[in-house]
Amino acid sequence: MNWNTLVFRELLQRKNKLITSGLAIVLGIAVIVTINTVTTYSEKAISKELDALGANILILPHGASLVDYYSADLQAGEIPEEYVTLLTTSNLEGLDNLSPKLSVPVNVGDKQVTLTGILPKNEFQSKASWQGAGIFSRPKSCGNVDDIFGLTQKAPKETLVRKRVIETLEPNEVLVGSDVASKLQLKEGEEIAMLDKPFKISAILPQTGTVDDSRVFAHLHTVQDLTGKDAVVNAIEVVGCCEQISKGLVAKINYLIPDAQVITISQVVDTQVKTNALMRNLSTLFLVIIIAIGGASIANDMYNNVYERRKEIGTLVALGANSSVVLKVFLKKALLLGILGGVGGYIIGTIIAVVLGPLVAGVPVLPIPYLFFVAVGLSVCITLIASYFPARYATRLDPCTVLQEV
């Protein structure tokens, strides 16, 4: 016989007790896993929505103002396009998306619209001198959230609105803002002529309620060529990670590009920072409450188990066991229950989160693998701590009382 036999026999002897103890631990951990999984995906969904608020940093020529930017009247000032390469190849953290823009007024028929040159994402990557170290290969952060299965599978054209970037754009293609399309009665697949060049309308953008609705987007280099400009832009829109912005990202960009002014769109950043902080605090609060309640339930169960086995403890002591042996017996049991509770709690908690998450929080939820280790670790810690103190107390009980011999 070894100590494991003693622990297993005790567990199997009291099957009802094993079921209730196991259930208490499994349910406690399941609740923690469920809440954590659902809140993690809720946070992601909210971050994703915040992402749609658009750029939160603008890089403008000196002398240009936000009014100029929003009215698309930016011809007075220009900055070199190579700033984009400078940023993409820098080691600045928190730059999630970049969108260089050159806006010029053009006529379509007898109507004037703003033609904005943009650079598709595939050209950023080819520009990066050290590919793999460029900003688009960095880990996802708060401004560039992972796609959530089932939530953000939107049409590629919408990425321009949401992420300020588009994957590809051919030199003869344009994307048309919703107001322009409506005013000029344009449709996808039609052709329009601007600056004496025919363009194919590859997409009509959804309405955004911003100046983008009254713009036509073409490839940056096409716009530069057609307007006879060098490799310049009017503005570089940046979607920056709000945490990094609060840690001085703007100053770092300014240091990198001293000949331009870097402006934070404070409303966007404030909203992102506050909402992210709120979600984080709520998640932490939930976690603390659930751990406290689940932990108390587990601790109570383990305490009762030790209390019920006082006589057995007295017998072991009478047979020559010292306190460390008694502790070992109880802690082995706690370890076993902790592991079983952690594994069971993770499985049940994840199933509940995946099934009920979309119904309760309105977001699709997938299993989070790292929570398995958190669940087992937490379960083992709680059961060990909850068992340690009553077991230690039991080893110090008066043997006369414990053995009920007096």
């Binding site: 003693l6 026999r9 017998t315 072991l316 002591v317 047979l319 010292n322 006369c400």
Partner: protein
């Protein structure tokens, strides 16, 4: 040799002191068979636990082979108990979820014996008490007498030189009581020291000598 010198045990209950043992002195030479008799609440079980290193005295000293028991650390006391002392209880205190053989193996496990040797020794001890056909039975599947015999086999597991028995016949019928007493006499004849607490004069008289303890004090 067992020696109890001017020992008292005082409990505090609701700011009142209760003397379970009051200034008891006793010498038990090696190989003796002593019965301690006295009324309920006289402190005889407390004295037995004290002799076994499980209840420290408030005053006085307890010696085992000239070694002051309670001057040792708790772990040293546990080691000494494992090596030299065997307990027999009125209620047997068998571990209910272990089989007869596993119950006997517990002290062997505590002494660090290899699993195979544990089984061999436990089988031998259960044979000695006449339970070789009940080795895999749990205590609940056995009669009261059989349970006490498992407790006796368990007590012998580490070959103790001192046996402390607390009302070993208290729950047994007269026939089984006599078997147990006979067993204790045999063990005494092997040279083991036996201290037995009982309130049954008939059982007490089978020891070599009796010590009467009345409400905390030794009478003689």
């Amino acid at each position: 040799m067992l020696k109890v010198k001017s020992v008292s045990k005082i409990y505090k209950k609701r700011d009142q002191e209760v003397k379970a043992i009051d200034n008891v002195s006793l010498e038990i030479p090696k190989g003796d068979f002593v019965s301690i008799i006295g009324p309920s609440g006289s402190g005889k079980s407390s004295l037995l636990l004290m002799l076994g290193g499980m209840l420290s005295p408030s005053l006085g000293k307890v010696f085992i082979d000239d070694e002051s028991l309670y001057d040792l650390s708790p772990n040293e006391i546990a080691a000494l108990r494992q090596k030299k002392i065997g307990f027999v209880f009125q209620t047997f205190n068998l571990i209910p979820y272990l089989s007869a053989i596993q119950n006997v193996q517990v002290p062997l496990l505590l002494s660090g014996m290899h699993e195979k040797d544990q089984v061999e020794k436990a089988q031998y001890l259960l044979q000695r008490v006449g339970l070789d056909d009940r080795m895999d039975h749990k205590p609940s599947e056995l009669s009261v007498g059989q349970q006490q015999r498992i407790a006796l086999a368990r007590m012998l597991a580490n070959d103790p030189s001192i046996i402390l028995a607390d009302e070993p016949t208290g729950n047994l019928d007269p026939e089984m009581s006599q078997t147990v007493i006979k067993f204790l006499i045999d063990l005494n004849e092997e040279g083991r020291t036996i201290v037995m607490v009982t309130h049954d004069m008939k059982v007490a008289n089978q020891a070599k000598r009796s010590v009467i303890i009345a409400k905390g004090g030794t009478v003689g």
